[in-house]
Amino acid sequence: MTKSRNLFLVPYLAWMVLFVVAPIVLIAYYSLFDVDGRFTFDNYTKFLSPVYLQMTLNSFWYALLITVFSLLVAYPTAYFLTRTKHKSLWLLLIIVPSWINLLLKAYAFIGIFGTYGFANKVLELAGIGTKQILFTDFSFVFVSVYIFIPFMILPVYNALDELNPSLIYASRDLGASPWLTFRKVVFPLTLEGVKAGCQAVFIPALSLFMITRLIAGNRVITLGTAIEQHFLVTQDWGMGSAIAVVLIIAMAVIMILTGSGKRGALHGSQ
């Protein structure tokens, strides 16, 4: 019995080894060689130089901004979604934009945010006058938030949907204000969904790259941009891998810090 059960494990184990363990080991291996193929720890010492530390700081800062704003928008949205009549329709409308290719969306935003774009026309009409929107920190965070919002809404929505409404009625009956109810009942019970959403946004946001060029005009440089440069332009795979290793470690730490407890929110409702 146990033997045949082990046999069933083989494809999964093979998959894990081939596509999860092997790539990570390869990246770690490549990170120990310089451009000339010599064994060295230089890539890591280089990572500790001000340039890369500043870049790491930037990446974390922008990823944090993106996550916080996504959460600020997504939580109320998810909350109202659970109250609406046609839940699945509204949910679908939120998910549909994520079917469109990321690059296309980025290009659309270049048009909208440009000097003669729609956003500036509106500002002009409002009497504020033309502002530079494209290639600023604002546009970068805005577009990233727009792209990541579905990933935040879904887990939060699932958590809110699972919440038993009688708990809220009970809280109100016992005299808690709506805000107190939210703080003491709703939010703690949906915390797992929030955590899952934050992971789903923060981790990919750390390694964003295309948008840094298209929307931020390379005025924002993240670790993802640097990895792309090192692999495609410089062909300094060692340095690119070293950055990737640091990112993997950072992500693992985040997962461990936020991943405790049960994962009810990820399973969603049946």
């Binding site: 451009v35 000339d36 340039v51 500043q54 870049m55 290009y107 270049i110 440009g114 000097t115 003669y116 530079q132 494209l134 290639f135 060029r213 298209l214 931020a216 005009g217 390379n218 005025r219 440089i221 640097a226 440069q229 090192h230 495609l232 332009v233 410089t234 062909q235 300094d236 340095m239």
Partner: protein, 357 residues
């Protein structure tokens, strides 16, 4: 569950139909084998009529594929797998492909039309005696500017870009060699300089440009400048020509301190199967009349002297794209600096990008 099965079944059926359709289409156009030639070129970099003409003349069926960067092209050829009979890399890429043994030698005896190429474009540092590559187009790096937006600047000097009046009004192309080269040239150094002090000086100078730089972008630069998103930009001449077709206010100039001159040459990669056909194609493209038509379509500068003579005066006499010898003498080709130096250039460029206003 049933819906899931339906979904998978419909995807499979759709794929099968598409596969069959592709197969039929290929078969009906004669792609199924025999005498074919696969060309791997930059996007929108040939007059499509010429391909049809070549097919008619030689009976060879052409399969045409495109790439958008030298690096992507080299990676694909390095991987093998696909048969590419012709590719069109730029100078430094040719030098690198040669080093990596990705190119086949070209037999000049099979190219009677080679005599039409201006000797200025032959025997260049990246490929002595043109053993592996034949000139296709060439161009420069310079400044595109919008006459309506830049005041009385004419950008005869790189240093005009540093004018505080151009605050937040300049776009740069996202290339380490181009931007570092501009920094070095503006100081009067060579754009292939390997002297550490000069490089650091160039980077400091570039940092001072930061307040004027609106963005550092890729191919989007064409669209952005044509839409008057910025007053000036540092670009390749070919892109400049394309923008100028779209927006009449734009003009192009190569600053007098010198700049980069680049060459895209035709090569036969080691993945080639139809080497005979590849030579026929190269010879066909070298024909003066064909090259002239191709130049009119593509808009870049032709290295073909006989073709240039056939072109109307407003193209061949345009000093912006066919600069006078006094200027071309000051232009430099990017040397293959070696991986270590190239990586250092990129490092400095990255530091420049990181420098905040």
């Amino acid at each position: 569950m049933k819906q899931l099965v339906n979904l998978f079944v419909s995807v499979l059926v759709l794929s099968a139909v598409l596969l069959f359709a592709t197969y039929r289409l290929n078969a009906s156009e004669g792609y199924s084998g025999g005498n074919t030639l696969t060309i791997f070129n930059w996007g929108d970099y040939i007059d499509p009529d010429l391909i049809a003409e070549f097919e008619e003349q030689t009976g060879i069926t052409v399969i045409y594929q495109t790439f958008d960067s030298n690096e992507a092209m080299m990676t694909k050829i390095e991987q093998g797998g696909t048969t590419f009979d012709i590719s069109v890399p730029s100078d430094y890429a040719i030098s690198k492909m040669k080093e990596d043994r990705l190119l086949l030698p070209i037999d000049h005896a099979k190219l009677p039309n080679l005599k039409h190429i201006d000797p200025r474009f032959m025997n260049l540092s990246f490929d002595p005696d043109n053993a592996y590559s034949i000139p296709y187009f060439w161009g420069t790096v310079g400044v595109v500017y919008n006459r309506e937006l830049v005041g009385d600047h004419e950008f005869t000097s790189w240093n005009e870009l540093w004018d505080p009046a151009l605050h937040n009004d300049i776009l740069l192309v996202d290339g380490a060699r181009e931007v570092m080269g501009m920094g070095l040239n503006s100081l009067g150094y060579s754009l292939n300089d390997k002297n550490e002090e000069h490089l650091q000086e160039a980077k400091r100078k570039l940092n001072e440009l930061t307040p004027n730089v609106k963005a550092i972008v890729g191919d989007e630069i064409k669209m952005l400048l044509a839409n008057e998103e910025a007053a000036a930009g540092v670009v390749w001449s070919g892109d400049a020509a394309e923008m100028m077709w779209e927006n009449e206010n734009l003009d192009y100039v190569v600053p007098e301190e010198g700049s980069n001159v680049w060459f895209d040459n035709m090569v036969i990669p080691t993945t080639a199967k139809n080497i005979e056909g590849a030579h026929e194609f190269i010879n066909f493209m070298l024909d003066p009349e064909i090259a002239a038509r191709n130049t009119e379509y593509v808009g870049y500068s032709t290295p073909n002297a006989a073709a240039l003579a056939l072109l109307p005066e407003d193209i061949s006499g345009d000093e912006r794209f066919y600069p006078a010898p006094e200027l071309t003498d000051k232009l430099e080709v990017y040397d293959n600096l070696g991986k270590r130096m190239l990586s250092h250039y990129n490092e400095l460029f990255l530091e420049f990008k990181m420098h905040r206003k």
